[in-house]
Every structure is written in C-alpha cells, then in structure tokens.
C-alpha cells in the first residue's frame, strides 16, 4: 500500500520528476560512447521504472548494466514485475510530458526538436546552505543517474528488447 502512496507523492510533484529526468539525462550522456544525449522516448521508459519501488529497487551500482538489472527479476522470481514496464510507460505518458516540460522550463533540459533529443544542462550551482536536497531525493536522483548510465551504453532497440517493450 505504501508503495502506491510513494508513487503518488513523487508524481504529483512533477518538480521531483523533472529533477529525476535531468539526472537520468546526465547519466546517459556521461556513458554514451560519443557523449550524445538520449532520445526523449527513453525518458518515458525511465519514468516507468523510476516511479515504481519494485522496479527501481535493483537499480544500483551493485549491478553492472542493463542485462544484469534484467536478470535481477528472474533471480528474485518476479519476472512479472519486469513485464509491467510496457504498461506502466503507457499509463504515465502525460506525467512524463509534464515533468519534461517543467525540466525544460527550469532550464535543466533542452530540446533538440530536429532529433527529438533532450540535452542536460551540465553544471548547476551548488545549492546554498539550507537548500540542499532531501537525502531521499538525492537517493532517487542517484538511481536515475545509474539508469541513465545503463541506457547510455545500449542502443534504443536493445533497450526495448531488454525491457520487453515495443515502441
């Protein structure tokens, strides 16, 4: 039950979503072989994963890459959870668009409308004293970045293949 509440909390606050997508985008660009930014389709997928406790739990530095993340579900005997990404992505399209919009409005992300890629603003001023992020957001942000790292090393078709989604 708490899980649903947590999800509502994050995504009724699209600012957090915007922050997470920014971290995700940064993570992606930092591992992409040519430093390229992700196509925004991936943001929709990332949201489906980052908003679910079950799906984001195995996102950590303990796992090397996307295939390893994938195996965690078979290992923990919950491959049904993995199959839900497709449906979750679909259900959260509007949320994601709002989060992207806020991120763009706040200057965290930039659209390249020719290629539909979202570029991250690379450096941000350190938050002033007393304005630092709550550690819980910092943690989710870290997860978003790791997920971005993993996505950055795969092409779009492989990501779709691994996560069992069909664009």
């Amino acid at each position: 039950m708490g899980e649903v509440l947590e999800e509502v909390r994050i995504w009724n606050t699209p600012v957090i979503g915007a922050y997470l997508l920014w971290r995700f985008t940064k993570g992606y660009a930092s591992t992409h072989p040519s430093g390229d930014a992700p196509v925004a389709l991936l943001h929709f997928v990332a949201v489906a994963i980052l908003t679910s406790q079950q799906l984001s739990a195995p996102v950590s530095n303990m796992r090397a890459d996307l295939p390893s993340y994938l195996r965690s579900f078979e290992d923990s005997k919950s491959s049904d959870t993995l199959l839900s990404i497709h449906e979750r992505t679909k259900a959260r399209l509007a949320y994601t668009l709002r989060a992207i919009d806020i991120a763009v409005a706040q200057g965290l992300l930039f659209w390249d409308t020719e290629t539909a890629q979202l570029y991250p603003k690379s450096e941000l001023k350190k938050p002033s004293r007393g304005n630092a992020l709550k550690s819980v957001h910092e943690q989710t942000g870290k997860k978003a970045e790791i997920l971005g790292n993993w996505f950055g090393r795969q092409d779009l078709a492989s990501i779709a293949n691994y996560l069992k989604i069909v664009f």
């Binding site: 196509v39 199959l83 399209l93 509007a94 409308t113 779009l156």
Partner: protein, 660 residues
Amino acid sequence: MNFQLLQLIIWPKNAEFPPRQVNFQPGMLNVITGASRTGKSAIIPIIDYCLASGDCSIPIDTIRDFASWYGIVFQTDYEQVLLARRVPLGNQVSNDFYLLRSAIVSVPLTIPDKNETTDGVKNYLNTISGMPYFNLGGEDDKKAYTARLSFRDLMALIFQSQDIVANQNILFYKTHAHEHREKLRNWFPFILGAENLDTLKARQRIQVIEKRLNQLRREFDKTKAVSSAWKANMEGHLRVAKEYGLLQEENLQNADPEALLNMARQILQVIPEHSLTEFKDIDTANKNIADLEAEERYLSAEIGLVKKRLSDVKRLSTGLTDYESSIRKRVDRLQISKWLEEVSTETSGCPACGSTEHPNGKAELRKIASVFSTIEQQSKTLAEVPTSFSREEQRLNQELETLIDNKKDFQRRFDLIMQTNSEARAEFQRRKNMYLFLGNMQASLATFESLVDGGELQTEIALLEREYTDLMATINEYTVRARIDAATARIAQGVLRHLKTLDVESKYREVAPRFDTKDLNVSVLSNDNHWHYLGQVGSASNWVSFHIALMCALQEYFLSQPVSCVPSFVIFDQPSQVYFPKLKRNQIATETDLQFPDEDVEAVKGMFKTIADSIRAMNGRWQSIILDHADDTIYGDIEGVHEVEVWRDGNKLIPEAWYS
C-alpha cells in the same frame, strides 16, 4: 526451434585485415572440404564457444593467436542474431560477448566493445529456445542432474565432432562427462515432448500439496482423537444446564452429536446480555482487539496485493504467452509518437502546460512526434516473455495460500480472545457460577461444532486430495513412459529408413533399432534375437552410419513437434574418416589424386545423400554442415548440397596473410 547458421566470422588481431567470414546456406547440406590442418575441426569448438560454452576447445596457436573475436550469425523465426565472443586468454574463457539482433544483421568490421556477459547470453539463448524455468524435482530441488534445463545441454544434439561421429559407445557431444550425461538423460523426456510445461508445473504443485496434506491430516487426526471425549464433555455440560433449569430435555444419553449441539445453542441464545463489567477489563480487551484489527488489515492488504499481481500475471500470460503454440506474440505497441501527435492537436494552449504564452509549443511538439515516429519504426521489435514467467504464477499462488492460511489462524486467535473476554465479563455477573459455566460451555460448543460437522479440515483435505489425484494423472509415470516409447519408436523408424541408404550390414536395414533415452544409446537385434548396444556391433562403418541416421531422425522428429527447444542444425566433423583414414604427411600434397576403393566412395556418397535427402524431405527446415576431406567428386551431383569453401592450396580458416 528454427535456429540455422548463416555465418561464422573470425575477427583478426591485426585490424588492418577484414574479418574472415564463412557463409552457410540455411536449409541445405553445407560442405567445407579441405586438406588436413586447415582448421576444419576448429569449426565445432568455435561455434560451441560462441554459444557460451563454459570451456574452450578451440585449437591453440594459429587459430587463437591471430584472432581477436569469434562470432556466428544465425537465423531464428524472427530475426538474425550476431553473437561474438572474445578470444580466450590462456586457459581462461572470456566473459565478453557482443550480441546484435536485427531483421538483417550486417557484420561490423571490428567489434566495438562487449555488450553482454556469459550469463546474459545464456539467458538470451534460454529465452529464445523456450527453456522452462523449472527444476525437474520441484523448486527446492538442488540436485545438479535435475537442475533447470539449459540451452547449453542441447549442444549434445547438434555437434558430432571427430571423436563422436564414429564412436561406438557415445552418441552425443560432451556426454562423456557424467554430469552432462545425467542431465541429458533426465531431461530427454522433456526434449522429446513426452513431458511438457504442464507436467513440470504439476510436479511443483504436487510437492506443495503433499506438504499441506500432511499437515492437515495431522491436525485432523488430532481433533478426531479428542472428539469422543468431547461428546462426553458436552453431555456433562448439558446435565449441569438442566440442573440450573436452563434445559428441559430428558434424554441426553442417546442423543446424537447434532442434537446435543442444538440444545447447547438454544441455551446460549436465550441468556440475557449483561454489561456489568469493570472498566479495566474493557480497556485491555479493546487494546487487544485494536491490535488484532491492525493485523487483520495488514493481512487483507497483503492478500489484495498478491491477488492483484496474480491477476496481472494471468492476464499477461493469456495475452502475451502461449507456450504450446509460440513463445512470443506481439504486444500492443506504445506508440508514444501517436499519443504526442494527438495531445498536440487536441489542446488549445501549450500541450504540455496549457499556457498560451508560447505559441510555438504545438508545432515543436509535432516536430518531436514525427521524429519519434521515425525512431519507433526503426526499433520495431518483438517482446519476448521470460521463461521464468510460469514459475512466478506458481509462486504467487503459493504465497496467496500461505496468506489465507495466516488469516484463518488469525481468525481463530481472534475468536479465542473474544471468548476469554466474554468469560471475563461473565465472572462479574451476579449469578457468577452459572455464567462462568455458560462461558465454558460456549467455548466447548465452538470446538464441538467444528468436530461434529467434520470442520473445514475435512473439506480442505478432500479438495486437496482431488487436486492431487488429478495432478498425479498428469504426471503419471506410465503415460509419460508411453509417450517416450511412442517417440523413440518413431525415431527408431526414422533411423531404419535412413540406414537403407547408408553403409551398414544388410541385416540392420531390416529391423528398426532401439533408441534408449535412459542409456542414451542405440541397440540392435543380433542374429540370435538378443538386443545389443552399438558398442557390441562391429565395424566403424556401422557406427558412423548409426550416428548419421540417428541425427537425421532426431531432427525430423523435433521438426514434427509443435514446439521444440532443439536448434535445427547438426554439424558433422569428418564422417568419412572410417573410409579415408588419416594420410601420411608426404601424401598431403597429392591428396586429391588419391584413389580410394569404389565401394568406399559409394558409402561416403551415401552419407551425403542421406543427410541432403532428409533436409529436402523436411523442406529445408533444418540444416547440416559437414567438414570433410571428401571433395566434389563425391558430393558434386547430389541435390541439396552446398559447397561452402574448398580449403586447399593455401586457402584455410585463418588466412595466411594474417601471420606471414
């Protein structure tokens, strides 16, 4: 499973050279002919290595020293797959893989970097071949020989290396090792289709039921043992009630349990309610009840969650997977581009935030949508369903059962507390003793009731027993045995048919041999009507013929099944070795001019023809590769043979330019 090889590729260490590619034709008998020491026998180890083998038997020196990656391209029902693996370092096999899947794979000039690991590749291969995520003996079974079947285990059925192809004792690749052999033996019924996913599932379920039944029966026996004592107890209670003037009934001695119960119920129904309890008792009682209610809420929520997941799994498994007909199906596409397009046309202001201050927003979003659409077209793929999926359903069912059991236990506890609570109240009644008695009686009544009507225990036991019998029928040993027998009989007939065009003694062409899945061996009928294993049959020419006939018959059998997990190709390394024995070194130069006896030439022709005919008969749905000294004078005019390459006169697997 449609799994045919298209290419074998070796990337050189020196990036100046292009990768060495050997192209195969699907649905044909592919032949690589060549002299000794040209790399023919490295083909099987290389393919085996690319398919995530745990050891590497690729010949050392030339073939390893000048290569950086080995790879294969194969065709499945849905796509082409490039699977490459880095050269092993010394005795250490590499964990670096490169996997590329696409409708048409184009082979890169160099492998950019690894993108998969051994585990990942094994997982992928298990998924595409539809390996069940079950152990043979149930979930708790940790024995290696009954562990989950892996794609790797099927290698036994597709490679016939030089030491196997004419071996009288061993029919299948790598089955010298006890571990491989035992696992293959145990899983052969499944591989043949005599057991299927239902059987495996049933076996898992039976274990759970057995445990639960034992527990329930123990409980039931315990309650039954006390039930006669309880009847006397109830009679005693009623007698006291009579003394209190609460009961008029005379004949207690011969009343049946049901009548006794009715009397007791009546007495308890007519007691007036009293509320003269002390505050302290109410307080503790309330706290207990509040705790219990919290627990109840938690249990109900958990049950709700598991039920939801279970229904999701069921919905997914009917919509997405259908193991019997096909492993994967199309799912509804996400079509984010279409959604975005709709959003940007439907709203009046900015599609994302609703504001009218940035009029370009709509046009930009449409532009993005059209880029999305192009990308989506390019990355159109199919979703595969992990084979562990059916296991999850099983597990969730179990979890749900446990939770419901917990809830039942909880209910009992709750009742008990409510009961003692009413006893406590009764104690403070004016007519203390009578009410105490009534409280006691109420407690006894509850137990007695559960005993008399057989209780839930009996119903539950009966239900489980029925399920158990049904499941036992599914996994019935005799049914499975009969299916195995039918399968092996069909394979044996296939072997007999192929032996007719192969070089064996004529008597073996008359009676079908026996293929035994328990011994992984073939036996034949001797003149004195006894069955003997292949090892007791003389002549290597007989052995090699049986190997070839069996491999063809097995592939034909697998293709006749609705689904089969076995890849549809077989590679034979030098099947003609028994006719063309190893040449002496000084003869190599003139090898092509050698003359062999006519009957030997005919026998080798027979081999090629038998395999080519079998492939043609199955409409090219399987593929074979032969690596041999025999050249086109032997197979030149056989239909269905494709000469891949001739490795003579300096033409080899590893081009000389790489090391000279």
